[in-house]
């Protein structure tokens, strides 16, 4: 994938817009005073934030703090007890499962362990939505090859998930999330449990999607290195890999949030994150 961003052929996995004016457009996701409780204390308590078009939001926090729950609330996989969640302007908290399906098709989601269907080949996993929509086989094969080439795994076309490594499964999961050209991508700990080299490969794919196709995203992670790399690097389409931004520069569309015991305790830029006085954030960073 070395096409010029913005050309009609270059945007198979995103909105295709190359110029982002976040202030001028409606947010893609809006959380307003959202709370959810299972058994015991609230998992999320009075959470409010938004994701603007073209924005990449990184959700930090230790394990078990409710990061994955927050992600699943966005596309209605879970329902909040209180508050409203707007996805593309629709309040998913009040919609039925039937009404949610068209919205979910516009949303790409990468699950923590990939969540590939064991009984299907990589081709059928990646093409799952297209198969349900009865897209012709030739078209499916072409788009699956394109998506797998994007994650540099075209050779696994006929493989079953069981024969893939953990990192390869995540990359196939990314290909599956991107094939339907989502308008927002939700990444649930895409590098969790992976070695540093594979993690960097995954982060590079996330960056490629952000910088080349400008798809807004929300990425959950507890790995600071991955989070900071997304701010300090950009994807260089001519080199085909990520490159360090000049010293002192960070990606303006990548911002951070942090959860502690179900509450959103930080929401801001990388600069604000590293200079915050919040004790919990400081401890987490150190």
């Amino acid at each position: 994938m070395t096409d010029t961003p913005g050309s009609p052929h270059s945007a198979p996995y995103g909105s295709g817009s190359t110029t982002v004016d976040a202030a001028a457009e409606e947010p893609v996701v809006v959380f307003r005073n959202v709370s959810i409780t299972f058994d015991g204390p609230p998992v999320l308590n009075d959470i409010s934030f938004s994701v603007a078009p073209g924005e990449t939001r990184i959700l930090l926090g230790p394990a078990g703090v409710g990061k994955s729950v927050l992600l699943k609330l966005i596309n209605g996989l879970l329902r909040p007890d209180q508050g409203s969640i707007l996805l593309f302007g629709h309040d998913v908290a009040t919609m039925t499962e039937e009404q949610l399906f068209p919205l979910r098709i516009r949303t790409g989601m990468v699950f923590q362990e990939g969540a590939l269907f064991d009984s299907l080949t990589v081709r059928d996993n990646v093409a799952y939505q297209l198969i349900q929509e009865r897209v012709p086989d030739d078209e499916i094969d072409r788009r699956v090859h394109e998506a797998l080439t994007f994650v540099e795994l075209d050779s696994t076309f006929d493989f079953y998930p069981a024969s893939l490594s953990g990192g390869m499964r995540r990359r196939v999961a990314i290909a599956r999330a991107l094939i339907h050209r989502p308008e927002i991508i939700l990444y649930d700990s895409p590098t969790g449990g992976l070695d540093p080299i594979t993690s960097t490969t995954i982060i590079e794919l996330v960056m490629k999607q952000r910088d080349v196709y400008r798809t807004p995203s929300l990425l959950v992670t507890h790995r600071l290195q991955d989070a900071f790399t997304l701010s300090t690097h950009r994807f260089d389409p001519t080199l085909g890999r990520m490159a360090l931004l000049p010293t002192g520069e960070t990606d303006p569309n990548t911002t951070y949030m942090m959860l502690e015991e179900g509450r959103l305790i930080f929401d801001g830029s990388l600069h604000e994150l590293v200079h915050t006085d919040n004790k919990f954030v400081r401890e987490f960073l150190e």
Binding site: E97, R104, M109, F111, F117, Y128, Q132
Partner: protein
């Protein structure tokens, strides 16, 4: 303290029964709305029907054989061994064929449905399916329920037939009685109510097996340990409910078609 435990348990039972009712009702009604997954239905017919045929044939054959052996011991005291065929065919068709087939298929398929769907739940495959815009109830549960109902109907007919053959085998080769007499007795004394009774029961059992298996699979929590728990619950509850439903159906059908 004790009252609190009883209250919680009672509430849990009522809540589970309510959730199961809504789940089973929704799964059945899905067939009236698009999309319908015919390929999945046919695949499940193959897994449930063809996959279970061997155990159903063998259990039917040996049950018929045991019935012939036991009846020989009892009927010989009254000089009535000639009615062995009638005894075996009536018992197989009305009761043992449907119930045994139901329990055998429950052991094989309710467990496989619960463990397969349970594994999909704990590995987030069900969530992934929903996130991809596909309703798991329609894609996974509804085809299994209809396939199980249809296949159990035919498997019961096979079990009945092989039960009668098993009885014939024992009657002819072990009890050294007349085979023609066995089959004529088996055939002549069969009435339509016997057949109706034997073929209504597997429709209900098929529904119970698939709905209970899928229900416990889809509500799995607690990782791989939870999958094991769901599998056990699915087999235990589907088997018990099949026998309970058999009791109710027998009572109803005997009222509708009283014995002569």
């Amino acid at each position: 303290m004790a009252i609190g435990i009883i209250e919680r348990t009672a509430k849990d039972i009522v809540l589970t029964a309510q959730e199961y009712s809504l789940f089973a009702q929704r799964a059945v009604l899905n067939v009236f709305r698009k999309p319908r997954y015919w390929t999945d239905f046919l695949m499940q017919c193959n897994i449930i029907g063809v996959g279970s045929s061997a155990i159903v044939l063998l259990s039917g054959f040996f049950t018929g054989g045991v019935l012939a052996l036991q009846s020989q011991a009892t009927l010989s005291q009254f000089g009535a061994t000639a009615v062995t065929g009638r005894f075996v065919s009536t018992t197989m068709l009305r009761e043992l064929g449907p119930v045994l087939t139901g329990i055998m298929v429950a052991g094989r398929n309710a467990s496989s449905m619960a463990s397969e769907l349970g594994s999909m739940v704990v590995t987030e495959q069900i969530d992934a399916m929903r996130a991809l815009g596909v309703d798991p109830m329609r894609k996974l549960v509804t085809p299994r329920i209809y396939a199980c109902i249809l296949m159990l109907f035919f498997l019961t007919i096979l079990a009945d037939a092989f039960g009668i053959f098993g009885g014939a085998f024992v009657t002819i080769f072990m009890n050294h009685q007349n085979g023609t007499q066995y089959f004529s007795q088996a055939w002549e004394h069969l009435r339509y109510p016997d057949i109706i009774q034997g073929l209504v029961k597997p429709l209900v059992s098929g529904y119970i097996i698939a709905s209970v298996g899928c229900f416990y699979g889809m509500r799995t929590t607690g990782g791989t340990e939870g999958v094991g728990r769901s599998t056990i619950d699915a087999v235990v509850f589907s088997s018990v409910i099949i026998i309970f439903a058999d009791f109710l159906l027998t009572q109803i059908l005997l009222t509708l078609f009283p014995p002569i």
